[in-house]
Symmetry: C2
Subunit: 423 residues, 2 copies
């Protein structure tokens, strides 16, 4: 006999037992509903992608792929990667049907993504992420729409605008601002942008020192710092339009950098305002070279990604997870007195389910008291015991487990009562 | 400049563009609704599992794992497999919380599964599969319930009982039947069971010849064939109960074998009755040693798996996919005359969405005629043009694209009209 196997999942991934799976499904369902209300269509793809999709951008990228993703060679000598992000996949799909698609294309997906992380506390190797993008339209109204959609997601989870704020910046505007300060060296702009990306993790003095190192020009470094830290000038048409749409928790933040590679225009980030969870919730922006790795015309896009762990942390921090989510048990449990009553109870259950209500039958050989206790310990709402008298008379008593109130009547009566509750 | 990348997905996996994704979601949603109506709770897990979970059953199994699954070694020297089936995962999860769970546990999941298949036409390397199981209860009523649930799935897709049939057999009954014929050699029983598994793929003569080879006893081979082919004796309590529950498309088939390893009691298979799709749709059975690889007590279970490709083939064969599934476009499209009307249109859209209806705004710079054509080519149901007059008067005309009928009025009027359609 071998040593028993461990019941632990693979390092860095999660099991979703029913209570956790219910929360996950609640998040996914709410994401889908909001996106579809804005006219976004769902797409999906396999987690398996040719590694070339990630390595194509050059040697540095190829190294990152080997180092930080799950990449392996299949028995057909094909290099295959578990997707670390969805953008390359959606770029591939958009490029593959660019002549057939109606523009703009409004698409969303909820993929799981994989990263090879050194095993450490809290770093997950698999997570899910809502991806929302509009492709093929560059007017500022599309930037507004995508940010409005992200904002609506928070409202649809019951959040109020004081719980989060929206920071906006624009890559093109920033390039003009650097040019106005006499900076025309692209490498220097890149270095400053990368520094800005971690500005809120360092002190003011450290930030200035780093700017002086980059520019080797102390007065210029001060000018850059002043420009970056200047208050919201209110001159951004996306921000103006969002405010006109009633979205007030939005401001321009010139230090907002959002990574570096993709973005060419508007960039944005949603941040939690709660002191216990003071961090970025989601980020996105406009990219103009989405399909550059493929044949055909360039396609512009604007979109964002929103992780499931971040979403759940936000909901828990602000106590926005409804209690009812844990109610994954059926609404009604039928409890049989004796095995002889199992079949009549299953017939009864079938009639209850036909109304759309969920119903299970406890057909175990346990005593009725034990069956009631089991139902009470789950999240079942009503119980109906089924014994000799009930089967003979066709009259049943349905008890609300929490209030103790009961209703007695024919199946018809009970169904009427239940249906009136559903409506 | 590098050669452009291919837009094809990885070999053997599928892209789900919106029209296909909508069908997939329809299938998943219907599966979930049926399972939850029976009181089954959803669970999930990562596709990444320690390879030991599949290799633990012995050397033969370890070879199959290396040969037929995606298995690789991560940089922490851990062997990891992309799950080829869900049963080992759910066994791990059940064993991991066997002391906390309430019994019986009714669980379902819709995992994607991976198999390393030689690349050949129609053989997919990734598919999705509904898994439904009841754990911890061995009474025949639980077998009945699980089969009843599978039957209900077909009804919930609009199928009628003539479109499929349910074949039932029982491993324990079969062992008794072999013993009654004097066969007590377990290896011979295994060989006959394996032969039965492909009985409908060979001729009667081939079947008899194979039985003679196995038994080296021609009279015995004839006796076995007669027993296996005997008509439904009607002595199976699961079948009797299903018939009492109104499920009539069920019969005992003693040749039913359903693979070999897991099952110990009832086994069942649903088959399509359509001559164009004459094949197995789903299969399942009872297994009594689910958690034997882990520490703790043995847990019994009964369940089935149902693949997404098989489901879709059945629905297409019987023309059961509703036309409305392709309607993944929003219900209403607002078309702006000029960019100046984008913001008022986005405000209007926001009010429409607040009623729960889906709505998009065409904010492109295209001419209005082009915008109408684009909406008509999609599956949008209503259009509302938004121009100077509409914005000034607050009066809009909403046109039904298919019937050409229109309604004119304030936003309030239109919302009233739309809400009455939803109710």
């Amino acid at each position: 006999m071998n040593k028993p196997l461990s019941t632990q999942p693979y390092k860095g991934v999660r099991d979703f037992y029913p209570a956790d799976c219910a929360v996950q499904q609640y998040i996914f369902d709410t994401w889908s509903e909001t996106a579809e209300r804005f006219g976004y269509e769902r797409y999906d793809a396999s987690i398996l992608e040719p590694s070339a999709l990630y390595k194509a951008k050059g040697a540095e990228n190829a190294e990152l792929v080997n180092d930080q993703t799950y990449t392996f060679t299949d028995r057909g000598e094909r290099e295959v990667t578990l997707r670390p992000e969805m953008t390359p996949t959606v770029a591939r799909m958009i490029a593959g049907k660019s002549r057939e698609l109606a523009w703009p294309a409004r698409w969303y997906s909820i993929p799981n993504l994989f990263r090879y992380e050194r095993a450490q506390r809290g770093r997950l190797r698999e997570h899910w992420q809502l991806n929302v993008d509009m492709f093929g339209e560059s007017g500022y109204a599309s930037d507004v729409e995508v940010i409005q959609l992200a904002h609506q997601i928070f409202l649809d989870f019951g959040a109020t605008p004081d719980m989060f704020e929206i920071l906006i910046n624009n890559r093109a505007t920033m390039n003009h601002a650097y040019a106005a300060l006499g900076i025309d060296d692209a490498d220097m702009v890149t270095a400053i942008t990368r520094l800005n990306d971690r500005k809120d993790k360092i002190t003011d003095a450290e930030y200035l020192t780093a700017l002086i190192q980059i520019t080797t020009d102390e007065p210029l470094a001060h000018e850059i710092k002043t420009m970056i830290e200047s208050p919201d000038p209110g001159d951004n048409q996306v921000v103006t339009a969002l405010r006109d749409l009633g979205i007030t928790n939005v401001r321009i933040d010139r230090s907002l950098a959002r990574g570096f590679d993709y973005y060419t225009g508007t960039i944005f980030e949603f941040k939690d305002t709660h002191p216990d969870n003071n961090r970025s919730l989601l980020g996105g922006g406009r990219y103009d070279n989405l399909t550059s790795l493929f044949e055909g015309e360039a396609v512009t896009g604007i979109g964002f990604g929103f992780g499931d762990v971040t979403m759940r942390d936000f909901l828990e921090t602000h106590d926005l997870l409804p209690d009812s989510i844990t109610h994954t048990a059926p609404v009604i449990a039928l409890l049989t007195m004796e095995p002889a009553h199992n079949l009549p109870a299953m017939q009864l259950a079938q009639n209850i389910r036909a109304t759309g209500l969920s119903c299970s039958v406890d057909t175990t050989s346990r005593k009725i008291g034990k069956k009631i206790a089991t139902a009470a310990n789950s999240n079942v709402i009503y119980i109906i015991t089924v014994g000799e008298d009930e089967v003979a008379s066709g009259t049943y008593t349905m008890k609300h487990l929490e209030t103790g109130q009961d209703v007695t009547g024919s199946l018809q009566d009970l169904l009427g009562h239940l249906t009136s509750l559903v409506e």
